[in-house]
Amino acid sequence: MHDELVAAIRQRMSELRPGHPLDEATDVGAVISRGQLDKISELAASAEAEGAQRWSPSPWAPPSLGGPGPERGFWFPPTMFTGVSEEQRIARDELCWPVLTVSSFATPDEVAGRTNSTRYGLSAGVWTRQGALSEWLAARLRAGVVWVNSFGLLDPAVPFGGYQESGLGREGGRHGLEAYLDLPGSLDV
């Protein structure tokens, strides 16, 4: 399962198009700043040093840095690390994007324990054909959003926001509205 999935993700990553964020054909834009690019680069290097295997579809450096990528912007290619364990910094620190880390597991308990071992908890995704297992895992994952057999969906009527150091409060839905309201007794049932 692990190898098959990794191969499929690599194939998909190879098809991602870099470009201007306002261009509809763009899949991946540049990193927001030099500081963030340095942070990603440093964490990626630490992951390699700590034993994870690095993979990118192609070097996305701009021509000025000797690569075939877009000319302007702080580019970091979509990157996947396999063989990641929870002790590695890349599994614990907040990186966001455009780096994917892959860890394999033997039991659902292991998934819950490992996922909950970070200081963050914005979102999680569960892919499985077993309905009972998805409910079980969704209940255990300490994250503000759990997408079952889906990922990254947002809707103005649905609360979005993280646990722990991933944020305070919620945007969207009734929970999101409450932060903008000060109605005496509005919380009283």
């Binding site: 200081r119 998805s134 969704a138 209940a139 255990r140 300490r142 994250a143 503000g144 959003v145 759990v146 997408w147 079952v148 057999n149 889906s150 969906l153 809707d155 009527a157 649905v158 609360p159 979005f160 926001g161 646990y163 722990q164 150091e165 944020g167 305070l168 919620r170 839905g173 009734r174 929970h175 919380l187 009283d188 049932v189």
Partner: protein
Amino acid sequence: MSELARPALSRPPRARAAPRTTYRLYIGGEFPRAVSGRTFEVHGADGTFLASAALAAGRDARDAVTAARAAFPAWSRAAGYERGQALYRVAEVIDDHRAQFALQLRRAAACAPDVAYAEVDAAVDRWTWYAGWADKLTQVRGAVNPVAGPYGTVSLPEPVGVTAVLAPPDSALLGLVSVLAPVIVSGNTAVLVASERYPLLAIALAEAAAAARLPAGVVNVLTGEVAEISPWLAAHQEVNAIDVAGASGPLADDLAVAAAGNLKRVVRLPVADWTAEPGLDRMFATLETKTIWHPLGR
């Protein structure tokens, strides 16, 4: 010689030395001394010496957080019904020891007996009221969201985690119960810092929790100086929220700054009239919201 033959009643009365209790902390279901071994004297409102209590410091705060963290998985995953039952039992134990709590209150606050009994009864009622929320919170605080697409989504309240609670200094028992119960009813585990004026009531509550078999570590109680203990909790990476009800304005400001280090939820509600209806704000303040998406289809 048999028991019956002993002339017990004919002996002259002798002077007794009443036991002089040194109260301890309550951590992980045990009653340990402070790691430093230090104690402080507790006096009633009229200046009478009441007892000695353990003077907690940073190391005790860390032990309490460790115990609260260890208790969190089981307590937070327990069914609301189970948590409710566990909390009702605590209310029963307090009620069973009504006279004892009232006596402690009279000594600590120098109040009349009827005032003391009224506060104990109000505290039992308050605890019971919160206990009733254990199996109702999810329905009242949760939501089914109307998403524009082929997905079903639900939003559920979950406890934020280990919560530090600073007991208010102006209400020995009712205020204490009013800040502790709303935290643990939803599945949080608590590290309670007793008020400096009324530490013995906090320990009495801990004894009631222990007697009621509330799972170890769900409530942990530290006694000592609030300004000494609370900064450790506010800065602790394993603490997820802090209710600063028992901190003065400047201390509360400092604690809020320290709490930002790991984005703790800081509960800072307006000064309360503890005898008034508590409302739901305090209970809701230590909840997270988890939203689960499922695709819908054939």
